[in-house]
Amino acid sequence: MKYAAAFLMAGAVSACTDNFDEINTDPNQPPVVPTSALLTSAQKQLMDHTWDATMNGQQGMQLAQFWASNQYSDESRYAFRSATINNYWLYFYAGRGALDGSTPNGGGMQDLNEIIRLNTEFPDENAGSFGTNANQIAVANTLKVWIMQVVTDIWGNAPYSQALNIDEYPNPAYDSQEDIYNTFLSQLTDASNSVELNGLGPAGDAIYSGDMMKWKKFINSLKLRVAMRMADAAPSVAQTAVAEAVEAGVFESNDDNALFPYLMNAPNNNPLNENFKTRNDYAVSNILIDKLQDLSDPRLALYAAPTVNSVVAGTPEYVGEVYGLDEVNAAATQNDDISQRPASILAADAPGIYMQYAEVAFLLAEAVERGFISGSAADYYNMGVAASMNYWNDGSLTQDDIDAYLAQPAVAYDAQIAAGTLWNEVIGQQKWLSLYMQGIEAWTEYRRLDFGVLQMPADGVLDGTGIPLRIMYPLDEQSANKASYDAAVAAQGADALDTRLWWDTK
């Protein structure tokens, strides 16, 4: 009897494992998605995490001294939070996911890699409706270089050749920054060459809506940026690459700008807008406001808001938050007495900038000064200033305003050079002003061009010895990828704020 029951049961039980596959199929997540969805995710994510209140507001914008903390000011004195560093390393490579308790809002380099993988391994399934394989791969590689350059400019040596391949490299080794930069050049050259102008551009492209002509210009503008970063460390490589990029065609006007168009509503609004809904931790710094006022720069009213109290009193004025105050001093100043960030920058649909024409113009001016290309540095410089003015112009600026600004001895290119100011300062300062909101890039170019303007934090540095030359690696790498981390530190120098990166030769 009992045996009969047992056999009956065993038979019944093992028979109903047939539907286990079906039971264990996840109905909440799709097994297949169009590559366009991955591209949208990557484009948004890349911008979100370089534009947001943490990586940009708390770090980039303060490292570039555009903004200052009106409270909780440790970052402005170069004491960085380890959790932030951990997170952003992860966000850049792998994207931000639900594991950290947040709503998943897209992938970083990993999504781009997936686009490349799908177009390589299953070319026929994606080619038809989501862009040609070549165009999709070119676009994905370009954005990969764009975000990876942010990574290497923040930290230095970093995993790249072994990154994003967990099956083969569970502990990816760090490549030297020189190797990374050389890889950038070859990847961008390949991307530029493989663009199919007559083929279908990628779907899901929020930047250029699949316009491959514009992508080609962006690829070469980025190549120009990469090459110029190498100018001191590897001048001949840089020179060749600059010439190639210019030859292949770079941005020619603000129409070519690579922007991410944020939308009015969450979760697709500008991340600074989202943050400002509940917090207001940063104000415009005195370094920026003083400089703009010294130059009678009309961008003052576009980069900052007059103080609330002065507006109430009927005499609008701009007062910068002193950069680098300690906690108590930063908190002691009233927000209403300090120039806050203007509404245009905090708007829900304020676009994020991957790269602008103004930057290209300044890079060309520098390339002329370095003898990489021929032409007039002053002309390119003027085009850069004008492009920046026009980009930020809310309708209040006329060409006459721009001309008048450029005519000032403290702004005019030739006059400054004649007065003995070095080209790196002349170009650097205006480039710095034009890179407003692109905090990491502005800090990076400061490190490379050493153009003055920036000052030591008013109440001194907390960590390191001065304006940081890089940021410490995430502590997570010490636990999850220790051997590779150790090798990277041995190769690059101490994991400290004042360890110089490869391209930063002086």
């Binding site: 286990f20 380890s82 996911g97 697709n268 101490a494």
Partner: protein, 1050 residues
Amino acid sequence: MLAVSMGAWAQDIISGTISSTESGEALPGVNVIVKGTTQGTVTDVEGNYRLSVPQDAEILTFSFIGLVSQEVAINGQSVINIKMAEDAKQLSEVVITGLGMEREEASLGYSVQEVEGESLVKARETNLVNSLAGRVAGVQITGSSNFGGSSRILIRGANSIRGDNQPLFVVDGTPIDNSNFTTTNQARGGGGYDYGNAAQDLNPDDIESITVLKGPAASAIYGSRGSNGVIEITTKKGSARKGIGISVNSGLSFQQVFVLPDYQNRYGAALIRDANGDPVLDDAGLPIIDHGLDGSWGAPLDGSIITRHWDSFDEWDTGNFGQARPMLPSPSNVEDFFRLGRTLNNNISFSGGNETAQFRLSYTNLSQQGTQENSELMRNTVNFSGSLKATEKLTARVTANYIGSDVQGRPATGYGDRNVMQAFNQWYQRQLDTDRLRNFRNPDGTQRTWNRKSQSDPTPNYFNNPFWDRYVNYQEDARNRIFGNMALSYEFTDWLTVTGRAMTDFYTDRREERAEIGSVEEPYYEEVVRQVSESNFDLIANVNTDISDDISFSGFVGGNIRLNSLYRNEARTQDGLNIPGFFNIANSGGNPRVDDYYEQKQVNSVFGSASFGYRDFLYLDVTARNDWSSTLPEGNNSYFYPSATTSFVFSELINPSWLSLGKLRVGWAQVGNDTDPYRLASTYVPIANYGSFANATVPNSLNNANLRPEITTSWEVGAQLGFFNSRLNLDATYYDSETRDQIFAVDVSGATGYQSRVVNAGRVTNQGVELMLSGTPIALPNSFRWDVAVNWARNVNRVAELTEDTKTIRLSSLFGVYVEAKEGETYGSITGPTIAVDPNTGKYIVDANGRYVQEPEQGVVGSVLADWTGGLSNTFSYKGLSLSALIDVQQGGALYSLTHMFGRYSGVLEETAVGNIREDGVVLDAVVQSGTNEDGYPISDGTINTVAVSAPRWGADHYSRGRATQNVFDASFVKLREVQFGYSLPTSFIENSPFTNVTISLVGRNLAILHRNIPHVDPEGAVSSNNIQGFEGGQLPTERSFGINLNLKF
């Protein structure tokens, strides 16, 4: 019967009455059997029996659970009246074991411990799990007094690295869901509501007893789910009796907050100063306080500063508008925020039955008002159990429970916007007067808060008015739950019974959270509805037969099918709300965010058990089970696990008078485990559309299509000794368990494109000792009695191995301090930035500015697991009076305190204003750094530090320098957990009343923390029942409770 009658050619009739030796009362339900036959009957409600016996019958056997069985020679008697005595000997104590099987404790080769339901009823914890604290050896309870909040239970340490280490709860054979459904952010103390663990629905009034099955040897038959132990609950049942029994139980208790930090009362909000450091003056020439800053490093509260306070800027508030008041201390402002909580519990139950049918029906209403205003909890429970002996062979049983709970205004926990303690303890202006804050609304309904952005801007800067959070931004939740089972048993022969059962537990849980327009956070409304269900179907054949006179046998074989499902629909408004006061998803400013989730799982099992007994002193049990789980890949989804246990009652062989019981036991078991659904195949994560573009991403956790089941292997040895007629009893157990091939997500370098990947790896070991010592030092003939029970347990946990590549797994982090599983360390290591120590002097190292210097790498500063836990209970009784006290001890464990870190940072705690530190600064007792060694570690030449750090910098450095060293504390405690005083009215007193029993008891819970090593907060402070423990992100004050219980029986 028919067959027996036909075969018995001559019958005698024997009758009699059975009564209790102790009380003299009639005993219904006693089994009366003619020895050696199947012929028998049971006594009726008056204790009478009448039985036909064959003429050759010699002996009658009388037996009843809990009483000493007797055999009486017939010797021609036709009337046999006997008295039966209670069975004091533990030897024959019957306990509930795996799958609800009743077994004699003596025959068990593993440790089980029972808790009587009565003490739980008196303890009256809203969360049943809390009332187990201090009562069971080897069980670590981390409770909270959060209103309706969580309680975490760990039996013999943590086995699983990422899995749920909570035991399985089983009620009358039905597995009960104990999910928490909290967010990782809430669990780590990052803020959010503590909705509690679902086992809190269990109603103490309906519980007869709780058996804790501690190790796999005891719980192997439950399969994978038993690997963390099992809490087996038996509910009260009806019994054969005369008439309907009515029992009424009423409890009223009051809760009072009693663990609050020590605050300073000398300084309040900061004054606004100009570039020269001079105070900025307003139009009236008064200094201005910085309303927007949330710290207390500012103006002295000695009355010398007169200023306009936060409530003086609204013209409608004519009493305060334009008024300036001095800055004065407000020492009780936090305490004033809390009220006296009240819990009212009423239960009525009816029971009755005869020989063939019994039932019990019970209704309980729990109504609670929390210590924070606008917090109410209501829980209604209906419990029914019934059994019917339909024929001699067929018995039907049914148990059903309905629980409906409704909560409004749970207090928020942790470091989050809505937790009032985050403001009070961590970021506050100490001068604030709580009564004034009650005026939290403007006439147009908008908020007024103390933390206005500035004099001209009344919008909140960082904090809402706490009363706005209580009365406007409150949460609500409700749960409707049914669990129970139906069983049919058929007795094929006297040695074979087959039982089929259908068991289910399902509930709908709805949670709503909100923030009104004008709050510091973006206004929102969120609604999460979950449907949780588990059904089990089993068929078990029980065999009970003696192989020979010396060898007894019992056993069973069976099969089970388990189906689990979870449906979750979560919707949240985005971009604010449009219409004030309208909390509905339809009021979303932008597109609402939706999360639509469904999960299911099936496990099929077959199992069997065989128990052999040799002459009442040697027992052997073997069990075997095989599971097939839908969560594992085909080919690896079947796993088998065996157990074998043995028990040797040597006191049956050698029996000195002082030894009443002597037993040794040994057990070994292996248990397999599956995983969560959907961890095999790789999929993409859908994200909200970007405009009209689809948006999807590669997940950051990599699934694994080749998972294997986890295996836990354990063995235990134990001894149970009774001395001096059971006046002194000792139970000791040593156990050793190892879990390997665990399934968990292991952190990988982000550069791989993933944050983590799912692997089979790791080895976690637990070894421990459990001791239970109980005794009766005094038992006088006049019925005075003193009972003492001590339990003590030590568990040594090791994360012996993780993976080849990973030596550390991060379980959670909060403000840069981590709880980790680290190879070679105890599970739940707390790690973080530490201060450098000079090995020569043992002192901390500071830099030239007098500030602590950190080690270059993070260090381990403690573990969330306790070194040992223990409990001591003393009970005194005399006639109807009883007095008992329970002391609960935890030694070791660690807690990271945000209250300490930010309370010092913001200058609200007492230490930030002792002596002249605000004027003179703080000279840390440390040595000065002289350089670094070759590994980059700071070293010192021993120069004593003389440089003072300003007090605000010193405070802020609790956050920025050596955070883990400065804010992680030993979590040891000694608590006076419970004192009960009970009085049963003498029978003479109620003789002429309708009552058969009247008991009044007074109960105090959580009366005092007798010892702790952590300042300001309670070392025990769970905010969730999941694995993330050890963080105190803004603890709600612990509450003590005083109550009275009245029990009436009719």
